[in-house]
């Protein structure tokens, strides 16, 4: 394999066509990146690590949603409810059965996947807009269920969870939990990239692109649509479980409609149908409120602050920023950050030629 790919598409065999890394450099870049990330707890403070952990957790959930929305072409406005289900399930499993947290997390993912399949089966019959509305209703119904199911979720008071522990190593601080999240991020992202190289992954893409032709070719639409719901819920469940054991407290208030919309925003801003885009979109959504907060803090006490009452309205400014970011990205960069990143890479690679 060459160090960097030649201009144009030139694949000599099937293996080359299917590879994730088109060149040795890109493979090395990934290893270097992982190494750098593994060293961040030694360098960064707790606050930055907390942000990175959040990006990782949201990235996993966004990736699940991207598989559903970007790769299969369906819509889900209820992703936060599945995220919450994973969180509650992991917490409840640990409390009820005293299984170690390390086992509860994957089990919570599987449980959420089952719930996702249950919701996916009727959803497979609906298309586009109707599906969006159905998932919106599912979000409210699940939220209501969480608020009422005292035995499972602790009702409206919420439930305290235990930190992640493995053979005596307790990940109750950001420095340690970072590695747990990093491991899961790598695992889930590699799994998603590989999924799209398999027959099932290609079937999902076919369902998105032209479902009639896909059905003509023998792809069972209902099966694959339901499967994609299941996979998305699995990812959401794992992410939710990680969230529960990071925060050490879960309550239904966190999993509201705004959270669902934030996941959709991550997917769209990152780029529909792009695995790395999910992480970029998650990073954007997590860092946006921090930027707004810093900007407001920088302006605090000044004339602008007094005129616009910035200090007291920081949460509104945050929400406005989220809404505005979604709209602006849709208008100016509809293919998301992933495409912008591809264009930047292409610019560097092909300079001074434009293409």
């Amino acid at each position: 394999m060459a160090l960097s790919p030649p201009a144009g598409e030139y694949h000599a065999n099937y293996r080359e066509d299917m590879t994730i890394f088109p060149s040795r450099n890109s493979r090395r870049a990934l290893w270097v990146g992982i190494l750098v990330l593994a060293c961040t707890p030694l360098v960064c403070g707790r606050y930055e690590l907390g942000l990175l952990i959040n990006i990782g957790i949201m990235g996993i959930a966004a990736l699940g949603l991207n598989i559903l929305v970007g790769f299969t072409g369906q819509i889900s406005i209820g992703h936060a409810a599945f995220f919450g289900f994973g969180a509650f399930m992991s917490a409840w499993l640990h409390d009820a059965t005293h299984l170690p947290v390390a086992i509860c997390i994957p089990l919570a993912g599987l449980g959420t996947a089952l719930v996702g399949l249950v919701f996916g089966t009727p959803a497979a019959r609906l298309k586009g807009l109707y599906l969006a509305i159905a998932t919106l209703a599912a979000q409210f119904i699940l939220e209501d269920f969480f608020a009422r199911a005292q035995w499972f979720t602790g009702g409206t008071s919420g439930r305290i969870t235990e930190p992640f522990a493995l053979f005596g190593w307790i990940a109750d601080r950001e420095e340690k939990f970072f590695y747990v999240v990093l491991a899961y991020v790598i695992l889930m992202f590699v799994a998603a990239s590989n999924l799209l190289r398999t027959r099932d992954g290609r079937a999902l893409v076919a369902v998105r692109d032209h479902y009639l032709s896909a059905e003509v070719m023998g792809i069972n639409l209902a099966y694959y649509r339901t499967l994609s719901f299941g996979i998305a819920s699995f990812y959401a469940g794992i992410a939710g479980a990680l969230y529960a054991h990071y925060l050490l407290f879960v309550s239904v208030e966190a999993f509201n409609i705004l959270f669902s919309i934030q996941f959709l925003g991550m997917v769209i801003i990152g780029g529909l149908g792009s695995v790395s885009g999910s992480l970029m979109g998650a990073a954007f959504m997590v860092l946006l409120p921090e930027v707004v907060q810093s900007a407001a803090a920088a302006l605090a006490g000044g004339a602008i602050d007094r005129a616009l009452r910035l200090g007291a309205s920081i949460s509104f400014l945050r929400e406005m920023a989220i809404g505005a970011a979604i709209i602006l990205f849709l208008i100016f960069e509809p293919d998301g950050l992933a495409r912008r990143w591809r264009l930047i890479k292409a610019y560097w690679k092909l300079y001074p030629y434009s293409h």
Binding site: A147, R148, S157, F249, E253, A254, G301, G311, S315, F316
Partner: protein, 428 residues
Amino acid sequence: MQLRRAMLGIAAAAIASGSALAQQKVTLGHLMDLSGATSDVGTPFSQGVNDSFAWLNGKGGVAGRQFNMLAVDYGYQAPRAVSQYQAWARDRVVGIMGWGTADTEALVKFVTRDKIPYVSGSYAATLTDAAGKSGRPGAEATGYNFFYGPSYSDALRAMLKWAADDWKAKGKPGRPKYVHMGGNHPYPNSPKEAGEAMAKELGFDVLPPIVFALTPGDYTAQCLTLKSQGANYAYLGNTAGSNISVLRACQTAGLDVQFLGNVWGMDENAMKAAGAAANGVVFPVRTAVVWGQAAPGMANVEAISKVSDPAGRAYRPVHYLAGVCASMLMAEAVETAIGKGGELTGERVRDGFYARQNWVPKGFEGVCNASNFTPEDHRGTLRVALYRAVVGGDTSNGTVQELMANGTMKLQPVATIELERKRELLGW
């Protein structure tokens, strides 16, 4: 490490303006709700807290040390409060001025483990069982939780006692009917069990509870249900914002019910917003006087108010004064802890809460009521002062200040009920 910046930079600005002291600042956390479901009452309370500590800093702090307030608006979402707490616990705050019931109850385990005293805006009775020995099922030791004022349960018990006497005094026949109304949330649910048990004991017919959300909305259906059930006394468990919607809807439906509010359920702003619908609501007031009345300690309260209102024109609702009194409790506990010498830790501040009997913060006599905390019983006061909101006319013209001054709105004292400090009523 990066400390979270103060949201309302008043305290920071006040400190920065003149302190030449090289002494270590006392770091306190402050959780506020300025944008969430209880922000209508959270805003004045947190204003009172922020102004109080800024005022203390302006006077040089306590025992020569100033306060470093880390104030954060968590929007009444418990997970955000918990995440903020975890950041503070490692920043070594020695105390936290908290707010809501859901997050305070969630943080009980954490503050007990990390030994950080927590003065909350939540008056849930479960926070009073300091040693966890009350014998109630699921009782947790809340040795580090305090609040200024009667608990929701004790306030409701006092109101029910008054209601029973009121029914007899009006000479009405038969058993009065009582119903608990509130959102499905820890804060309104907190006194439900205690209230219904007390009501049964006093001879009320307890009707099934009615749910209405913490947000304003259309509650005609709930009012119609209330009317058809024939309730005589209804407890409103939510904050003023949604209670107003219920009061208006029920006024429209033509109900004849005596509404009993909680401490957050009615105030001067709510009286103005609800107008005649708020007339007659009975609710507890945590301070001995309200804004504008004379008391020896009122001068200090007015000085505190001037921190954020230099012109002295703002009307401070009951929650502002309660915030001032709560802050003074924390401040004097810190002072006691510093006075004992040695390193200032959360545990020592907690001990500072036990140092005084019949505790009225210095300089606030006549405003703040007396509190008594013991290592087993954190029920600060069992004396509940009941007031009635009286609204005489149209409240849409004029500020709260003007309406209170010209008598259109009045807070009329009704009764002061002194409950017995019964051991079996601790913690619920």
